[in-house]
């Protein structure tokens, strides 16, 4: 399991990304953050967010239209 959990279900763009950025500040380098989202743009958004911020997207899943991402803080 990830070290921290962020639930942004029901929030629309750009709030999931803004909340994730804020939450990652409290994750130590090497630690992980799991994000739960329902925004249909979230899958591609989190891929792009991790690429541009240099963090690692360890997992991206869709379970009953809830998207789950695990991000490893590397930057």
């Amino acid at each position: 399991m990830a070290d921290q959990l962020l639930d942004v279900k029901g929030l629309n763009c750009p709030l999931p990304i803004l909340r994730a950025k804020k939450a990652l500040k409290d994750v130590p380098t090497g630690g992980t953050l799991q994000v739960l989202a329902t925004d249909p743009g979230a899958v591609k958004d989190f891929e792009a967010f991790c690429r541009t911020t240099g963090n690692e997207l360890l997992e991206s899943k869709n379970e009953d239209n809830v998207f789950s991402f695990v991000i490893k803080r590397t930057s």
């Binding site: 629309n12 763009c13 750009p14 709030l15 990304i17 803004l18 950025k21 804020k22 500040k25 792009a48 967010f49 541009t52 911020t53 240099g54």
Partner: protein
């Protein structure tokens, strides 16, 4: 790889355009892209400290929907982008002069200062410019 700075020239007082500018600015900032926003013309009226929530933005059909669905307020989004990334918002010195405003009449903890268009355009030569 360092991203090119994004420059946003925000002149419209329309809710829809200010919302889009705030979304672009905040997402770019948290994606570690530097952002500079230059606020002028009708857009600067939306940044007045004493503007009421109901009249702060002009808007049409989509503005009503944004309010109904309780989309995040653009001023809040700009603030969050500023807290979480390298986002600077500048007030057009000409617009301030025309309105007879000082910087302290604009929203607190948001505006970096007053800036001239010549400096903004000169800085923007090395980045990407979006106007709204």
């Amino acid at each position: 790889m360092a991203s090119k700075t994004l420059y946003i020239l925000l002149c419209s007082g329309e809710h829809e355009k200010i919302q889009m500018a705030a979304m672009i600015a905040s997402v770019a900032a948290v994606s570690e892209r530097p952002v500079e926003v230059f606020v002028s013309m009708n857009a600067i009226l939306a940044f007045a400290k004493d503007a009421s929530a109901d009249t702060r933005y002009q808007g049409g059909t989509f503005s009503k929907l944004l309010k109904e669905k309780k989309a995040p307020d653009p001023i809040t989004l700009f603030r969050q982008g500023r807290e979480l990334g390298d986002l600077k918002v500048w007030a057009c010195s000409m617009a301030l002069d025309i309105k007879g405003w000082e910087l302290d009449q604009l929203e607190d903890d948001l505006i970096e200062g007053a800036l001239g268009l010549t400096k903004f355009l000169s800085d923007a030569e090395n980045g990407q410019l979006i106007s709204l």
